[in-house]
Symmetry: C2
Subunit: 197 residues, 2 copies
């Protein structure tokens, strides 16, 4: 039996992570019933990302021009850089709407076992920026896991002797969580990092 038009869409959607047959089917029939322009806008956004996405020349965020929207925003605090592993991390941090500085994406984290050495990451570019752009604070927001910690420590070592203020995002209990279910490492870090009220 020839694949029907809707089966084709279902098959394509199942390529996406977390989208199984049932979800793909629900999405496909929803797309079928959506206003024409809305469905077309989804397809166009996918095409746009694939055709135009590249890395920001300065911070390695995703962009469709030379500089990303954050690097080219005149209202951002240009004295602070938040260092992250991946462009997707920027989206999450931006949603918190707390940080108003610039970013620097490493495009990964150190992992000697996988062959990810410092040269494979955008660490040299970070050091160059710090020297050139008159950065006052570098916030290391790599992941709180082995690779992320190793990367943060490596960068800290690279910046030894410069007068930039180096900080690390806080470890602690997630908001809305329950101490009862916290793992002991996190709990230990939360106690260590306690702040005066």
């Amino acid at each position: 039996m020839a694949l029907s038009i809707i089966d084709g869409l279902i098959a394509e959607l199942t390529r996406l992570p977390g989208i199984g047959r049932k979800t793909a089917q629900r999405l496909a029939f929803f797309i079928l019933s959506m206003p024409h322009e809305e469905a077309k806008a989804i397809a166009a956004a996918i095409n746009e990302v694939k055709d135009k996405a590249r890395f920001c020349k300065k911070c390695f965020n995703i962009t469709d021009s030379e500089l990303c929207t954050i690097c080219s925003d005149p209202d951002r605090d240009r004295s602070r850089i938040c260092v992250v592993e991946e462009p997707s991390n920027i989206t999450v941090i931006e949603r918190a709407a707390i940080f108003k500085g610039l970013y620097h994406v490493l495009l990964g984290a150190l992992s000697p076992i996988d062959g990810v050495t410092p040269e494979r990451l955008k660490i040299g570019e970070l050091v160059a920026r710090i020297n050139k752009e008159g950065i006052k604070e570098v916030i290391l927001a790599t992941n709180p896991n082995t690779k992320g910690e190793m990367t943060a420590q490596y960068i800290a070592k690279m910046l030894e002797g410069t007068d930039v203020v180096l900080t690390r995002i806080a470890y602690g209990l997630p908001m809305g969580s329950d101490i009862e279910f916290a793992d002991e490492v996190t709990l230990g870090k939360a106690l260590e990092g306690r702040r005066k009220l």
Copy 2:
């Protein structure tokens, strides 16, 4: 701040049912990292469905030509019609790979309170097919809820006096479920519909 290219895709994806901000973000960055052709194929499948999908002239399934893939398949048993409410129901039944006959989509279920009268559904077309195509069995696979039951009973009444065999899909316990958690209506139906081993 101008909306970045990836934020555009995230915003579009959140229009889909069950896709919140976090899932949309995960999907968007996954699409960004996918092979170019695969991502393009998703966009193309969406465009294709929106540009070409129409109803099968005979059974009202979704198709991109005059007849759907099932109606135009010479290997299907043309003496049996399975009546369903929506095209999406066909996809589910086909996956079970038990039924080898044809379908008829009503494009809804009777619901006088919502103004869905028999004329709004493809019931007249079903009766015409039964008379014209020499159908031997009509399986009513409308939903086992108030509207679906009402619709099945209405069709049964319309076909009174014809010699077509009219059947209704079985009610009972879902496979893999537990009697402990079955509602009493389903359990009653499962007992009523018991079969000799």
